[in-house]
Symmetry: C2
Subunit: 357 residues, 2 copies
């Protein structure tokens, strides 16, 4: 499929969380239907989709049924089992492509890829055992973070090592999984670029947002970020470089550290990204629609912003603040319809419009 | 139910067209589930709803099932059969209430209601037969429009009478239905106020938009309308008067003619309104969310606008323009997912952001 997806075509989305939910709404807005593949019942995306195939990623029959019912496949998370991709790729276009997933599913591969592109990352070393760890500590220094190479998100699968006597416990926490030892970067702020690349190779980026994390979870994104014009340009060019190298189709989140020595890439996410939620109330075409446009072979939105926005995540008990937030006329609520409030669980976000861009 | 509707509650929507579709998305954004009642298969709202009960409005069993599965009921169109409302009202709160429907379902009742409130309307007379029509023509004059009292929308069920010899044909077009003879109003422009009233009686209005109709169908709405400050205030106060009198809960569209003798009410629609679609890209809380907030007993958004917008309907073959519109970075597309393009059919709309408010 290289022609633009026509009205009424169906976009298949792997994963039924809040990202799938907002992708589904964006797809509908462009006249597409959606089918969600998600093992969980009553998932957020299923509330706003045409169909929900509730099955495990190992269920070959369900995967085939899913592929047969859609025109193109995308995903809301990067840790899709390889076996599922093998089946789906043979049946329907999967966008973004396998290369982006391979790179971002493994922190070691990702950092090596970025360095090969000439981009800066935190100092890192592969750690499979205590010997590796001792060597990494001596080469890279302390403090540092030990992370599993795969399946990490929102601060999970990570252990901080501040002194050598914490090394053993950190290694134990990795539970034998191949890991990455990552040195700290001395940064003044964290920003991210939400970049998109279309089927024809065109690239469009939103202005970088400035992120504040708490406990490994994104707390707020503020637009515009406090960056010099040169930094802003660097950030966007750097993101475009990554997308082009991967022959990427869709939206990618590129997290950056701002340092005295330039921009350092923290990580890339081959999907719509929490730090891009502000676009829903700042732009005519938000990141979700931008992703759908790319995946559907449509022209990309330009990334132009009409308003400045502060996005705040509503995590766990933050939901108690919803009645008050609802009284603020400049606050746009986006709640995910999750049945249960849990500590650390992303329940929604609020985009506060702070003024014209 | 007087408490605010909690997260995860279900809002029932009668009607599955584009208005139900956009209401459903807005409800999801606030963490609600939705159930659509609509006789048609594969209706636009069903694509983004939790459930779709496909049944006739005369199907008592289906209506009861619908009522049992929702917490509150609203609607996207005013011509809901009385028998269906009788059943539903006894089971769950229906918002807006019956009074608003009674008034707006009958053009004669509506105009009398508005005049009783001290508001101006076009001159009118009830027409049931040729005798009535002859008298109306002589009293009100020509040209005029003969309209069925009930079930009209988008210019349907209407016949223009420019000279007495067109009277017979116009009457025949009414097909024996009780009708209304309506004189023309000499207006400089058409505007509309999208007004909302909450469960606690609070009222919030968006700034009036200026409408251009073609062939009885809304073509564009431009924000802001060309109005004096006094006219703007009058429009909003007048709308509030209507909502308060009806003890209304929800969003209402109030169409006005701007004349040298002040504002004349053309018609009221007890629902979200095509001329309020611009709010999706001009406000933090759009008319659809505003309606859901009212119906759910939540605080209303303030009606504040961050951007100026021109909304244009995409009617029938206008869909051929979508590929070009998709290339315009300031244009936000909203397509309805209707399977078939027909002449005169509303297929979508585009909100063009023209600048900060």
């Amino acid at each position: 499929m290289t022609n633009p997806l026509p009205q009424g075509a169906t976009i298949g989305i792997l994963g039924g969380g809040q990202l799938g939910r907002m992708l589904s709404v964006a797809a509908a807005r462009l006249g597409f239907k959606t089918c969600i593949f998600e093992p969980g019942a009553d998932c957020p995306a299923s509330h706003v989709a045409n169909a929900h195939i509730q099955a495990a990623y190992e269920d070959e029959g369900a995967l085939r049924k899913f592929a047969a019912s859609v025109d193109v496949i995308t995903f809301e998370f990067e840790n899709i089992p390889t076996s599922a991709l093998d089946i789906l790729e043979a049946l329907k276009p999967v966008r973004p492509n396998r290369k982006a997933l391979r790179v971002s599913q493994d922190r070691l591969v990702e950092k090596a890829f970025l360095n090969d592109l000439g981009l800066q990352t935190a100092p890192f070393a592969a750690v499979d055992d205590g010997v590796d760890l001792t060597q990494a500590m001596s080469e890279i220094g302390l403090p540092a973070i030990l992370k599993t190479r795969r399946f990490g998100y929102d601060g999970k699968g990570q252990a901080r090592i501040s002194s050598p006597n914490e090394a053993e416990a950190a290694l134990a926490e990795m539970n034998g999984a191949p890991s990455l030892y990552e040195g700290f970067v001395d940064f003044s702020r964290e920003v991210s670029v939400i970049a998109a690349r279309g089927l024809a190779g065109d690239v469009a980026c939103y202005d970088p947002g400035e992120n504040v994390h708490e406990g490994g979870i994104l707390r707020t994104t503020t637009i515009p970020a406090r960056l010099t014009t040169a930094q802003r340009t660097d950030a966007v060019l750097l993101a475009a470089k990554i997308l082009n190298k991967l022959d990427y189709v869709g939206v990618m989140g590129v997290e950056l550290f701002v340092t005295d020595a330039g921009l350092v890439v923290n990580e890339i996410a081959p999907r719509v990204h929490n730090s891009g939620h502000w676009t829903q109330n700042g732009c005519a075409v938000d990141q979700f629609e931008q992703h759908i446009r790319a995946v559907a072979g449509w022209p990309l939105g330009g990334g132009v912003r009409h308003s400045n926005v502060v996005m705040e995540n509503l995590i766990g008990d933050d939901m108690d603040r919803v009645p008050d937030l609802a009284k603020d006329g400049t606050a746009a609520l986006h709640l995910y319809g999750k049945a249960e409030v849990k500590p650390g669980r992303k329940m929604g976000h609020v985009n506060k419009i702070t003024g014209p861009a």
